[in-house]
Symmetry: C2
Amino acid sequence: MSSRGGSQPTPTEVSRAHAQVGTDERRARVAWSRVLENRRERASDVRLHLLTEVLRIGHVQAWHRLVDGDLPKCASARAHVASVDVEAELDRVARTGARVVIPGDADWPLALSQQDIEPHLLHVRGQGCLADLVQRAVAVVGSRASTGYGEAISRELGAGLATRGWTVVSGAAYGIDAAAHQGALAVEGPVVAVLPCGPDRAYPEGNRRLVDAVAERGVVITELATGTVAMRHRFLARNRIIAAVAAATVVVEAGLRSGSLNTAGWAEFLGRPIGAVPGPVTQMSSAGCHEWIQKGRASLVTDSADAIALAARVGDAVDQPVEQLGPARVLDAMTTVQRRVHDVLRSRSVRSVGAVAHELVLPVEDVLAELSVMSVEGWAEQDDGGGWRRGRGPS
Amino acid sequence: MSSRGGSQPTPTEVSRAHAQVGTDERRARVAWSRVLENRRERASDVRLHLLTEVLRIGHVQAWHRLVDGDLPKCASARAHVASVDVEAELDRVARTGARVVIPGDADWPLALSQQDIEPHLLHVRGQGCLADLVQRAVAVVGSRASTGYGEAISRELGAGLATRGWTVVSGAAYGIDAAAHQGALAVEGPVVAVLPCGPDRAYPEGNRRLVDAVAERGVVITELATGTVAMRHRFLARNRIIAAVAAATVVVEAGLRSGSLNTAGWAEFLGRPIGAVPGPVTQMSSAGCHEWIQKGRASLVTDSADAIALAARVGDAVDQPVEQLGPARVLDAMTTVQRRVHDVLRSRSVRSVGAVAHELVLPVEDVLAELSVMSVEGWAEQDDGGGWRRGRGPS
């Protein structure tokens, strides 16, 4: 039930609610965004019912149906339509220095329009073009209760990614998030902060200067209406946006129940690669990272090069890792024994079959058989004297 | 060429060489072991040729053929038969407190008799029965240039494994190896040290007391003849025995080129699971561990429970992890979304579809569909009121 006890709009209020939106997609989305965020109830089927209805018939039509009471199960939402003032809302947004961006705008990141996770709109504050910024972006997230170790890694990751032209996406929280942003800002690199509150706020308030700095170099975004304060369910929903705009999500320090693993969960849901940075096993601060690596849900990441390799697997605007990944994949196609043989061969000098067999403590016959197979693929080359050198693989 | 310049045994020496072995398998293996280790040449096809010949026709017959000059390509080995004194060798072994164990003896670990890695014999020193000790064994290996962090983990692993009745196998080197042994000894647990030198020696000499302590609680083993000193190729060959007698190998701290990764390579070759303990990415001391985890060659291990779970996957004498692993494997069969749904369900209270959908920010219809599928396998259960609780999976 709504905070207004279920009272429904008067005929005058209904007319005004229709008129506010008309046929304008942007205004319809602003209205919807406000109606939904005004609702005080927490867990409820209605919100999701609304989302699916809206997705089916579109925001404009859904708004008019809602106002007319023609959306089933949405009585509690309808009770809020009278309180919506689209014009005032747009004014408030503009006063924060933000703009409303909706699907179809040049600024809208296509990555957000998949698998029913699309926000109604985004408030975007800052100089950058959001769609451009997230063309090559990696999310760096982690615990607020971070250690000096975690913060150093996060800063390094942020700086390393930004230096290589990758946008650093995070949530502007204390600890790992802040360090990632700071790292990117320190090298004047591209950066995006996704807030769990309205565009007029910062969360935590203590990071307001950081958020402003992000807006100056990149953009600060939120799907939430002005005045909205951070709450648990909003963190969870915010995390899906972090995961969705980034090609990969890297978790730096997370305990077993860290909220940052929720972001990783979103990345998993979206089919994006997840990285996790290990740390001392003697501290719980990296236990969540270790668990995800252990279960195969995250890849182990040690630095920004690892993070980029992870992100680049799915990205298309890649500069460096294409050549790197090619051979690596083919190398994986070698058998374990072949990889061992390849390891002991040298590219600039030859070794006898016997020497290789001796070092690997394998029968000569077996090594010879493997070398023959490897020479077909170019992984090993025989010289005129019968010795073997390491080959570079398929050319 | 041999150290004796290729001179071959006289008829008298030939008779004596035959007589020393007769039809005794143990004496033949002692003789072979001595002939091969006497050879000063390093990399060479001959040793491996010998190994394969011997494996085919057996040690006794191969010995007599060698003595008669009927083994092709083995002239250099034959030059050493005159210097072999089996009786004196057995005396020397006995004086070190060791016994000669060969395949077929009750002490012989079957795990050593596979894939052409079988030693000719083992010198076993200590109170324990080797075959029993390695029934449930985990190898703990790592860098000699270890950090305090690595040593603490290694000690903890050694103690944790031993406490749970798992034998700790290592190489008695400085650093990680020594710490693993010490951890096991501290809880008076089962322990095995594999030496890269003869049974009368310790390597490094500084660890002689540690080696003696291991012999008192468990066994110290080596395939090398008395008097043999540690050399690079002997470390590599020794490592195969460490990997072979253990159900799993765990690497604690290894740089990118650490010798302990050679042991891990053997475990891989033998198809045994490999674990690696992560550490700070800011130090190179764990870089080898991180690389192996990253490439999927090792599983991330944080404690002795992880190590046991790894080892128990292939072992049969398992006490605890059977129930653990069953459901875990089945859990993996759930889709990502199903796992997320399963995570938010509770086993002792019910939640509405809407509440679950809201927390996961998923459409109600999708969650309902997943729950239906999950209920078939018992992963979710619906109560009379329509709410859902977490199920325990297939029963």
